[in-house]
């Protein structure tokens, strides 16, 4: 990326992705309505929302495949409508539908993509090998994509999005279908890509995953931006903790003594949950309980920080 190149573009030359007041409708359905979205370079930004909230439509517009009815989109400061070739070289897009050419091998697919991006012929073989290794498909490189499992196809799709070393990554549900090991790898990979200065946008439902990856999150619902927050902000708003003890009765009594508001949860294992505003409070409470001789078996956040926001938004909506 050359910064000089993008800074002479009107709009301040902000690297990363930005969308302002973007709207798109399909017939009478307003899929996206006046969404503002920013994903800075060097950060992982999560795009969170329920099914049908307009996440995929927004990503398609950011990927320069769909024209917004109104609003502006900038990719590294460039307008996809005007500089489409320059924008496409900067965008790596991984769709939620896998869309693999089933009769081609993993290697052939990546080589084809390299050709479509007009990469110099000399470096293609090496680049493809490295990407196959990166997504751990090197052993299956010469199998037709048809025989790959869903998770393997998902990883192939990720490698395909990376073939031209884009500066912006738009990933639509990248973790779906991945086994836990692959999820951890994906997480590390996305972190390292962001560390290399790329703007990474991830849409997902799996909120606990995003807690570990994302620097910030944009919540959308019914085609609108509902909330935009960083993970620190999400953490600061307080989290619900779940506590189980050997003797739940004693736990309840102690919590009552401390004057804390708690809720007894109906579940397989009886537990109580309560809202704590910050981590220091959690640590203090745990110390309190242990010194009071209560056999605490588990003491953990009931939900991820982003999930907390998400659920709050869900309840506000009702």
């Amino acid at each position: 990326m050359s910064i000089a190149e993008s800074s002479n573009v009107p709009g301040g030359g902000a690297l990363g992705v930005s969308a302002e007041g973007v709207s798109r409708r399909f017939g009478t359905v307003h899929a996206v309505e006046h969404i503002d979205f920013h994903a800075p370079a060097g950060k992982v930004t999560a795009l969170i929302g329920p099914n049908g909230a307009g996440k995929t439509t927004l990503l398609l517009m950011l990927a320069s495949l769909l024209r917004p009815d109104s609003g502006t989109i900038r990719i590294d400061g460039l307008d996809p409508l005007r500089d489409s070739a320059a924008v496409r070289l900067r965008i790596g897009w991984m769709p939620d539908t896998l869309g693999v050419w089933e009769s081609l091998t993993a290697r052939e697919i990546l080589v084809q993509m390299a050709h479509f991006y007009r990469l110099p012929q000399a470096g293609i073989g090496q680049r493809v090998d490295e990407l196959l290794e990166l997504v751990r498909l090197d052993a299956l490189a010469d199998q037709p994509a048809r025989v790959l499992s869903r998770g393997q196809q998902q990883r192939l799709s990720l490698a395909r999005a990376l073939i031209h070393d884009p500066s912006v990554l738009l990933l639509d549900e990248p973790a779906s279908g991945l086994d836990p090991g692959s999820r951890v790898e994906l997480r590390n990979l996305l972190r390292s890509l962001a560390g290399a200065g790329k703007a990474v946008v991830v849409s997902s439902h799996v909120l606990s995953e995003l807690d570990e990856i994302a620097d910030g999150a944009v919540f959308v619902n019914q085609g609108r931006t509902v909330k935009q927050q960083t993970l620190e902000e999400a953490a600061r708003q307080g989290r619900r903790y779940a506590i189980t003890a050997l003797d739940n009765q004693a736990l309840a009594v102690k919590l009552g003594e401390l004057g804390l508001e708690y809720r007894v949860e109906a579940g397989l294992r009886p537990s109580v949950t309560l809202l704590l505003t910050h981590d220091d409070g959690a640590a203090a409470l745990l110390r309190e309980l242990v010194t009071a001789g209560i056999g605490v078996v588990s003491f953990a956040p009931a939900a991820g920080a982003l999930e907390e926001t998400y659920m709050n938004l869900e309840t506000e909506r009702r």
């Binding site: 320069s64 496409r88 490295e130 390292s192």
Partner: protein
Amino acid sequence: MSNVTEAVPSPGPQGSPAGPRGTTGGWNAVVGYLRGIRDVVVLEMKQRLRSRGWYIMLGIWFVVIAVVTWLTWLAWNATMEARRSVTAMSPQDGAGSMIFEVVLAFVLLFALLVAPALSAHAIDGDRAGGTLAILQITLLTPGQILWGKFCAGWLAALAFLATSAPFLVFGMFQGGLTVGHVVVSLVMLAVELAVVCGIGVGISALAGRPLFSIVVTYLAVAALVVGSLISFGLGSQLAQGTVLANTPQARSVLYAPAQPNQQGQPTEPVQPGYTCGGPLVEHPALRTERVAWMLALNPYVVVADAIPYPDRSGSAFYSAGMIESISQGARSALAGPDHTYLCANGVPQPQYLKQTTPLWPLGLGLQLVLTGLLMWLGWRSLRTPAGRLPRGTRIA
């Protein structure tokens, strides 16, 4: 995991061979454009060559045409046998011609049946499979995708044509025909395949669902083959008109050699049998020349009319083959009553039209206009960022 992205020499924007167009000159842009088409063709052909269905279709095609050729050959031999037993005459011409014509007609028929299947799911099939957007997100332009898909479909169809070429050559060797006949008919068949593939690719870019586009493409081909005949038939009934003509009078002389008339200009070549006399009167006639363009859209007419046959205007007796009859019929429709009505404008009209008024350029031109229109509409629907989407489709 991890650091690979930094370690790899970045093919990023600045070092990109796909830099702004025009700086490196128009020639490089053309080469780059063609290279993109080639890449799409390579992708398509790899997929087609690996699908077993394609080989099965090719095999069936080969067997069917072989059977048709064999049956035609048997039928012709049987006919000749029967004729020889009745008359002592053994007409040698027509053997190769008949086999050639039947095989040609069958090849064209099957070409028209197979080409839509090879082309009409090219783009909406990808759209349904989610792979079209993968192409669109790259540096490929809509034109490159469209032309690549078209070329791949056409190449696949040409393979079918190549399979049938031996039978056309066999027909040629049965006598009466030249290499030129085979070459011209193969070229025209290839062009007709291109037309159908173009229609199929265009429609598939426009359509939302694969089944729909295949059905519509078949209907379009049926419209060209059958619809053109029906509309020509009905259209010529609507094109009622008149032609000025006088009465033919029988002549005893079979043929009068051309003589300069009083103005010193050569007279029209006179057909045997009659002269024209009496006052010019308006006769009702079908002005077929107004609707001949509909007939010209027919692929059979285009192919038949393009294949050369000897000029028969001198001979009174000849056995015209099927191709020749189609061509002559179509040309007389194009000429209209002014040139075909007995004694139109008081001049004896030749029964036989020379090859100077071919119909196939008109027909092919109209077919290409139709194909070009569909391809253009298809190109519009492939542009990104997409404004409107085909009904009921998701882009990815």
